[in-house]
């Protein structure tokens, strides 16, 4: 089971729209817990969803005529990991101008922070792989081999399927699919 969370943040007070937003999200998300502050709602859940959250937030904005933004996390293996990530993202969101993105996730956060990557950002994006030298080496070789798994696996002296498995695992844990150019580009900055 992977733990996930959403932050729905308002530029002003969110109280007026709070019940509507929660009831709307409950139509497609089974949240296990919810928290609120004066300008944000935090929803916690533990399942996957194929609903386009960026579409949902844009629609809520036009229905309520309020300035909102939504952060959607990838999955976490433990609630503890989620909590640490959430605290970090709360801080990070403060440095991103409100109207720049209606929808944010780790990819948007990393893209916004490429000019000031630090250990903490690295840790929150790469999660448990931040200190996994073998995984980092695999990714580096794979990306520097133009994302060619056959070439990279030969260079790494591992079977191609092993490399593919590692890339899948990385995607599962971090939400970054290294076969996609933009994801590969973003992660390369962290190596």
């Amino acid at each position: 089971m992977m733990y996930r969370y959403l932050i729905i943040e308002s530029k002003k007070d969110i109280k007026n729209d709070e019940s509507m937003i929660i009831s709307l999200f409950s139509e497609f998300i089974d949240f296990t817990k919810k928290e609120t502050s004066h300008n944000a709602i935090y929803l916690f859940y533990a399942h996957e969803s194929d609903i386009s959250l960026s579409d949902v937030i844009l629609n809520i904005m036009s229905d309520t005529l309020s300035d909102l933004r939504l952060f959607s996390s990838f999955g976490f293996e433990s609630e503890y990991d989620l909590k640490i990530h959430l605290e970090y993202i709360k801080l990070k969101l403060k440095s991103i101008p409100f109207n720049k993105h209606a929808y944010l996730d780790d990819k948007v956060i990393l893209n916004e922070s490429l000019h000031r990557i630090d250990d903490e950002l690295r840790k929150h994006i790469l999660k448990k792989y931040a200190s996994d030298k073998m995984m980092m080496e695999c990714i580096k070789v794979y990306l520097e081999s133009n994302q060619n798994t056959s070439v990279a696996s030969k260079k790494l002296y591992i079977h191609r399927n092993t490399l593919l498995q590692r890339l899948d695992k990385f995607n599962q844990i971090t939400g970054f699919d290294l076969r996609i150019f933009l994801d590969a580009y973003l992660i390369y900055h962290l190596l």
Binding site: I51, N59, L65
Partner: protein, 400 residues
């Protein structure tokens, strides 16, 4: 028909923006002294490059952005301090977006449910909007089961059902592919004609602006550069920026000097300036000084008849690039290091490296002051005096 008439009466809206400024907390000023009166039923398009302040202005009208200074009136009522919800506006952020988990009906009805409208009223409004948009057969479908164009129409339906006084649209077609964009442009125009609701539309695409607007507001760096009907802006651009921004391919600019004989010279190339234009240049004291000649690509011709009409404005050029577009050819050349484009008939059959003659329709050209970048315009007082004089002479002749 009656439904539309009723709607029309309810939805009359005029907007007045008076000296509106927007300064962000970090000190950056995004909009400077924006003043504009928008008439009822107008389809106004704010157009300009990224960062010119068009979306900020729209967001200030919506109430999503605070107005730093200036006044905003909707129907003569000052709304600076009114919440967005109380301004009776409908805003489409990116109209492709729909609630993916809701049916077409629910997507359109959701905004009304939020406003706690009775069920029968919601049903009436949604059915009416679905009829206008040709979506009646799709009301039970989810967005996934719709084509791109249908989804776009549902998104418009979400705005229509609100019966708002003003529609605000922020680059609603920017996510669409080229074909769908052209189709949706047509749909939006048709829709505006049906609903006759005052609409403000933001885009960076000048073709959208030209094809849809009743009036265009061209913006740059937070300032209004020009306001006018599309044709007026196209034919009489105020400055080099507007002249270059509106029109595809853009207007050609050639730097040169006009001498006392009315001859425009740029390097080895010479063009005879017509009397009325020369008078304008003289009046603006630009004779002998560097000047910018602007001419639209379609006003440069390769037909013999035009060369015979303007023998003093024919240049021999070498074709750098020839782009065949089907009915016409875009021909690119170089005149004294100024890249020039001419749109000529595809029948001419030109090729790269060809030598050919081009005639400039000098009556259609504009002259700009390179230091101010403003178009040289005639002294209106002088024109009025001349017209009066001519009229007096005509009257005398008639009397005689």
């Amino acid at each position: 028909m009656n439904i539309q008439c009723n709607k029309r009466e309810n939805n009359m809206a005029t907007l007045k923006l008076k000296d509106i400024n927007k300064v962000y907390p970090n000190g950056v000023q995004a909009v400077f002294d924006f003043s504009l009166e928008i008439r009822d039923k107008e389809f106004i398009v704010f157009v300009g490059p990224s960062g010119c302040g068009k979306s900020t202005t729209l967001r200030m009208i919506a109430g999503l952005e605070e107005i730093t200074s200036g006044e905003l009136y909707i129907d003569d009522e000052l709304v600076n301090d009114k919440a967005p919800k109380d301004r009776n506006i409908a805003m489409v952020f990116q109209s492709y977006a729909l609630y993916p988990h809701m049916t077409v009906y629910d997507n359109m009805a959701f905004g009304l449910k939020l406003r706690k409208m009775p069920k029968n009223v919601i049903n009436e409004k949604v059915t009416e909007a679905a009829e206008i948009l040709g979506l009646k057969a799709y009301l039970k479908r989810k967005p996934k089961a719709l084509s791109g164009g249908q989804r776009q129409r549902v998104a418009l339906g979400r705005a229509i059902v609100r019966n708002a006084k003003v529609f605000l649209m922020d680059e609603p077609l920017s996510n669409l592919d080229a074909k769908l964009r052209v189709q949706m442009r047509g749909e939006l125009i048709k829709l505006h004609n049906k609903l006759v609701t005052t609409t403000i539309y933001v885009t960076h695409d000048q073709i959208e602006a030209m094809t849809m607007a009743s009036r265009i507001v061209v913006m740059k760096d937070g300032y209004i550069m020009q306001v006018g009907a599309p044709k007026d802006i196209y034919d009489n651009p105020n400055n080099i920026f507007v002249a270059g921004f509106i029109g595809t391919p853009p207007m050609n600019f050639i730097r040169g000097i006009v001498d006392t004989k009315g001859l425009f010279t740029s390097g080895i190339h010479k063009l005879q300036v017509p009397d009325d234009k020369f008078e304008l240049i003289t009046e603006n004291k630009m004779v002998g000084k560097e000047i910018v000649l602007g001419i639209r690509p379609e006003d440069i011709h390769d037909q013999q008849i035009v060369m015979d009409t303007y023998p003093g404005a024919v240049l021999e050029i070498i074709v750098d690039v020839a782009e065949l577009l089907g009915s016409e050819t875009n021909l690119y050349t170089n005149i004294n290091e100024n890249h020039i484009c001419a749109v000529i008939s595809a029948r001419t059959g030109v090729h790269i490296g060809d030598k050919m003659k081009l005639a400039f329709d000098m009556h259609k050209c504009h002259f700009f002051d390179p230091s101010t970048e403003q178009r040289l315009v005639a002294d209106l007082n002088r024109i009025a005096k001349t017209t009066k004089k001519v009229k007096k002479e005509e009257t005398k002749k008639v009397e005689k």
